[in-house]
Structure formats: C-alpha cells, structure tokens
C-alpha cells in the first residue's frame, strides 16, 4: 500500500465550478502538507502548504487537513480554464540531517472547460 493515495482522475469540470481534490495517507508522522500544481512539461509549482490540522485559504484556493482521518483536501472556487493542470499532494517527514523528505501522491489531472 502506498503511503499517499490520490485519485488520479482525470477530472473534467465546467468553468466556474467548485473543484475538490483529495489525498489520504497512512503515515501519522507527516507534519507538513502541500499542494503543488504541475502544468504539462513543467516542474511542480507550490500552491499551498499547511502545518498540522486546519484550513488555509489563499484567494480561490483552500487547503484543508484532517490529521485524525489522515485526509487532506484542496478546494478551488470559481475554477478557470487556466487551472487545468495536474495537482499533486505532498507530505513531509524527516530524512537524515534534518532534510525533510516529501512523499508525493500520483497527481490528479484536472481540466476546466470554458
């Protein structure tokens, strides 16, 4: 079983829809939770990061973490065609020498139709 599970999609929604992207995880030692957006043939771009449980909002994006359920979500309000990308969840534990290792989900491919 993978440490991080993410529904690969693909997910297709009309412009203006609310999008919900989710990941579940099994390692209770994860402390930092991130969402990255990756456009085709580009490197991942950090969207949001949260520490421990709770919500964090940034414009049209809201990240939600529920550590008791080992479940994280990213909500996109008023989705736009420019939001079409692959969204990766990532979580961090520890490597040697205090470098934190990110464990990634496999990504959800989102298409927002105009």
């Amino acid at each position: 079983q993978k440490e991080v599970e993410q529904d690969p999609g693909p997910l297709s929604v009309p412009e203006g829809a609310i999008v919900s992207l989710n990941c579940t995880y099994s390692n209770s030692a994860f402390q930092y939770f991130m969402w990255y957006r990756q456009y085709s043939r580009k490197g991942p771009e950090l969207l949001m990061y949260t520490y421990s449980s709770g919500n964090k909002e940034d414009g049209r994006f809201t990240a939600q973490v529920d550590k008791s359920s080992k479940y994280i979500s990213l909500f996109i309000r008023d989705s736009q065609p420019s939001d079409s990308a692959t969204y990766l969840c990532a979580m961090s534990g520890f490597l040697s020498g205090s470098a934190r290792q990110l464990t990634f989900g496999s990504g959800t491919q989102l298409t927002v139709l105009p």
């Binding site: 043939r41 520490y51 990110l102 989900g105 990504g107």
Partner: protein, 114 residues
C-alpha cells in the same frame, strides 16, 4: 517565483553516452534534491543534499551520481546512459531556516535515451 534552473530542458542521446544534467539555484537554499518522474506517475526522490559536500541517495535506486561542491549547484551525472534512464528529471531546493523546508522545483529535464 522560484529561481531554480535546469539545463538542458530536453536531451536525446544514444546508449552508452555520459551525460550531466545541470541544476542551479540563486536563492541560497542549503538543501537540494533530484526527483525522477515518469508520465502520469508520482515523483520519486533519487538524490538529496543538505549542504556542500553532502549527498545521499533517495528512496528510488538510481545509477546516477551527484555532487555538491557549491551551494548553488547540484549536477546529476549518468556515466553510461541506457533506454531505462528515459524519464523526466526534476531538481528542487529548500531553505530549512523557515521550518517548513518547502521545496521549489525547476522546470525539469526530459531525457530520452535511444
């Protein structure tokens, strides 16, 4: 926007050639990472470094090697490329001073070995 650069962006090369993928960052980050990503698959950590003259292997076995002689530079070398090395290689860096070790990614090098 993160200042992390990778060259070349695309490389097509024959079996048996030695190649070096370049990664540089101008943010003064102490930690750097190399990931491998196949299409539609999750990122896998192959190497990381938490400072000059430190390198470690990641959780995905790789025949590549890395060096960290300068803070800003983290090249990856394949002594003898094979078709199985065909993949996208992503470099990232992070700053441990803020606590989150949020990783910022370069645009990637797409390697094809014929």
């Amino acid at each position: 926007e993160a200042d992390i650069y990778q060259t070349p962006r695309y490389l097509v090369i024959g079996t048996g050639k030695k190649i070096t993928l370049e990664c540089s960052q101008t943010m003064g980050h102490d930690k750097m990472y190399w990931y491998q990503q196949d299409p539609g698959m999750e990122l896998h950590l192959i190497h990381y470094s938490y400072g000059v003259n430190s390198t470690e292997k990641g959780d995905l076995s790789s025949e590549s090697t890395v060096s960290r002689i300068r803070t800003e530079h983290f090249p990856l070398t394949l002594e003898s490329a094979r078709p199985s090395h065909t993949s996208q290689y992503l470099c990232a860096s992070s700053d441990s001073s803020g606590g989150s070790d949020t990783q910022y990614f370069g645009p990637g090098t797409r390697l094809t070995v014929l």
